[in-house]
Symmetry: C3
Subunit: 249 residues, 3 copies
């Protein structure tokens, strides 16, 4: 009995490891701890932004389908546009199903949980904290999102460079990956994209990080160091801007 459980857990880990390996951001394998940290940031951000998209859609009275589409667009839309412009065929979530499946399962469970919460007190107690975390203005959300911002900026830029796109325009792909999920969401909400109006620095932070990466890359810096510089500068600019309410103009 105990052996079987152990086997099951091992198998589960095996599946998890396969998923993680197939979705690991392209970093040199030098530092395993860094790789795991990056994977953790990536998946936390995908899940949190799916939830944030979902709640935003529900607040606007959208149904099951609309909410799923918005969750999808917010978390995977930027990378999708990046892949279409670069010509990475098919787009990443068709090549690697775990992204789409995660977002759809998360959205599905949340919608069902939300319905239960309207009826049962116990369920409401579970749903409430999730809703808090997924609130775009919650501290946790802003923190994880700022971490992810640097990661998206890096991913868009490196994918472009890997396809021999000039380093002069590669950062644009970083910005698109980072910022266009929210922009596409606002298109579906039929409103002018939030990030186009004066607000705390978001796309600009991603742009700065992507440019830092490209500069270091051009100077021949180690790829892990270049990544960390991109990551840290994006995060710092974003968090500083939120902390001191520095607004774009």
């Amino acid at each position: 009995m105990e052996e079987q459980i152990q086997q099951l857990i091992e198998q589960l880990f095996q599946v998890l490891r396969t998923i993680l390996n197939s979705t690991a951001p392209p970093l040199d394998q030098a530092d395993e701890a860094l790789n795991w940290f990056v994977l953790f940031v990536q998946w936390s951000a995908i899940i949190l932004s799916a939830l944030a998209g979902l709640y935003a859609a529900r607040r606007r009275g959208m149904d099951f389908f609309g909410s799923m589409v918005i969750a999808f667009v917010v978390s995977l839309g930027g990378g999708t546009l990046r892949d279409v412009l670069l010509g990475r065929d098919p787009v990443f979530w068709l090549a690697e199903p775990v992204y789409a499946v995660t977002v759809l399962v998360i959205a599905l469970l949340s919608i069902l949980a939300g319905r239960q919460a309207q009826r049962s007190q116990t369920m409401a107690r579970v749903a409430q904290p999730i809703e808090w975390i997924a609130d775009e203005h919650s501290r946790l959300f802003v923190f994880v999102d700022a971490l992810a911002l640097g990661l998206w900026a890096y991913l868009g830029t490196i994918y472009a460079l890997q396809m021999s796109i000039s380093p002069v325009v590669a950062p644009i792909m970083g910005v698109i990956t980072a910022a266009f999920g929210g922009i596409l969401r606002d298109l579906f909400f039929a409103k002018v994209p939030q990030s186009f109006m004066p607000s705390q620095l978001y796309a600009a932070a991603a742009a700065a990080g992507a440019i830092v990466y490209v500069l270091l890359w051009e100077l021949g810096a180690d790829s892990t160091i270049s990544f960390l510089a991109c990551f840290v500068s994006t995060f710092t600019i974003r968090i500083t801007s939120v902390k001191f309410n520095i607004q774009s103009r």
Copy 2:
């Protein structure tokens, strides 16, 4: 003389057969009757949705160009987005001109007929029934559209599978093919997509059909039977939802 007419008719049929063959949905050639039925559904749906798009655009005061674009987007937009995401280059209506030509000619004739109808009583008598049929709430439209819904769901899914996309995400392509024509139309109308708000089941019906197809396909079922199951389940869900006003939430 009579011989010439016969020849002309034969040639016309030849052209028609070529068009039909080049746009036949990818079904096994087992049943010719089924193939013709599917072709009939496909072309009726393309023409009807082009007309529906056209009238919707005219009602909003759009001009010649805007109406043509909306007609195009409603009838061919879903398949276009599918092709872009899958990387089927160029998109189907560039590879196979008959789609675009049909939609543009239909739109052109309808606009001209509409203008004549404002002046001549005879023309008005011709235009009126077409407008009724193309009304999205007419029985005929809902019927043909429900038939086509299953076809689009099937086409998107099979194209994805043919490109070795995982069966786990292939149904998403079915839903996009079926539902995104209307969604893109609403973007151009600068309003929140209708199908994102509570309404009778549409995208959900396509999703169900696409999932049924993939399940049967995975179980190794005959491809014609899998197609029919997809087709019938989509149609049944859609029509039941309209008949009994079952709304998505």
Copy 3:
């Protein structure tokens, strides 16, 4: 000293020539004067439409990032959509960075100049005429834009033909290249595209030019003559429509 300046100028010219050669529209090399004229029209139009997009975005209260995106979309959006639909991977401004760089530098300088103009009288005297030129209703803008309209119609059509797209649908790519920059801008402004509503002929002029090109091309006309016919007919229709206020319906 003088020699060094001469060398610098020569080097600058060398860079300029390289840029121009790498972005020269695909015309037969028969007539060099024509090539230079076409290049001049292309770059004037890109710069002017970037400025027009920028000012439109600023008037709507958009920030730095939003204004850059709109400038980008207005001047390069049509060609981007064309490339995505045709499957020209990656899109032209990723393959040839000078387009994106030009638009972003122009936008950047204009935003900075605009801010200076609010504070300094001298700067205001420089910024004012630029704003006039970039006004979509200024005579110069309409003139250059009408010239470019024919060029975009030609470019979209010829790129499609070069990829063996049927001449029956190739003009659609011409229209998309010419008209969809403004249409995408309006999507981001969350309003129904201007060019979809009754107005002076714009997309229709591009369509006419593209069709003229395809017809002559089919008849085996010289490619320079076909280009000129496309260019002149688009320009004439557009300018006549503006001059006599001929409105689409």
